[in-house]
Symmetry: none
Subunit: 132 residues, 4 copies
């Protein structure tokens, strides 16, 4: 479902968050779908439930999922993108760092754009279904 690399410098809970968001974009998880419970997911990934809990909470704060008391956690049906200046700057910084790293790895500009374009096309897009 989600592959976790415990040796990564990215915290495990963040890997779960990223993995879920990526899975949703790719259509692996559908809006309204129930997520595995915290305990189930923890068993599947052989993690402590608290770690999964932290990830689910973060996803909820981002409004990517909603939790319904006593029933579980579900993919949000109507995600509303909300542009935020701080987040935009953060995003740019992340891209800038990645671009610098790529250039230092030997990519030239065209290869770099091609790399990014390829990665973008792996994602279905949030609303692509609605619009077709």
């Amino acid at each position: 479902m989600i592959d976790i690399d415990v040796t990564s410098s990215t915290p495990i809970y963040a890997q779960i968050v990223n993995g879920m968001k990526e899975g949703i974009l790719k259509g692996i998880f559908q809006p309204g779908e129930k997520l595995p419970s915290v305990r189930e997911m923890a068993k599947m990934l052989t993690l402590n439930p608290n770690t999964v809990q932290k990830a689910y909470k973060e996803l909820e704060r981002q409004k990517v999922v909603v939790t319904i008391q006593g029933r579980g956690t579900f993919i949000s049906k109507e995600y509303q993108p909300k542009m935020d200046e701080d987040k935009l700057n953060e995003l740019k910084e992340t891209f800038k760092k990645a671009i610098v790293d790529a250039l230092y790895l030997g990519f030239d500009k065209e290869e770099l754009i091609a790399l990014v374009t390829g990665l973008v096309n792996e994602m279905e897009g949030l609303n692509s279904d609605d619009k077709n």
Copy 2:
């Protein structure tokens, strides 16, 4: 010179490393140029010298700069890009995360490519001389 955000979650030493590499790509720092000493740099950025030291060490490890004993630290004249599968995967993960975030901020694919292209064009590129 380099703008540091002490409140950022990115470690300060890493901000220095990124900032230096970005500055080199943009041509602000020229190959062969001498860097300020650790102490000078620490004063300029009002940082702990240990932090600057760590950044210089990291830059040297990446062969972006070279230290000559008793003379100082200099921008490498002939940086040799070194493609490494681990680093490539890491790079892809970074891009993927950034792309997911961008899509969740409301970017569509074209806007995203445009954003990245714009950021890439801010950099002069390591190999731009070769091609002109």
Copy 3:
């Protein structure tokens, strides 16, 4: 009748309790009026009957409604306000928290008082008959 948000962090049973009390203050429910049975209410709100049951029990504990065996549940005809130091402190804490949040949202004092006054005026008041 009562709008329930299952995704809210406020327990559903508490939302029913609050909603009923608000409806009574607003005159939507009249003293002596019969409430829908637990099962009816559960169907209307598409909730688990246990949840509605719990809300009714709580309303009865607060003497807002009375249950007559075999007849049903009714809005109390003579609700007796009961000032209790513990409850008063709790109330103050709730207000204090809300006020702090409002100030942090950017409200100034006058706007805040206006907001509260407006909300108060939406309620008819328990004792409005006495004073008119």
Copy 4:
């Protein structure tokens, strides 16, 4: 500093969050001031450091405090109120619930407004110093 009621239904970490924000409004904590470290605060309140940590994280997410790596956590110098429709609705719900409770405790409208006004006046306001 902050008084914690472990018997309260309000989670301890939330009590810390509320208490800090209230303290800042009242001027007990000044912008730029360093907060006790997570461990210190945990000792002071005889709580587990994780609980304090959670509170500090929440305060940082709300931009009420900033953390500087290796140095500690500090009251934000320039808090920028950010109105948000969701938060506004949440605020109104909180007030509505409190108002309903107050009316059921026997408050009439004037007493209620007086209560709120009194509580508001206990707070200095976020920018009141700047404007005088």
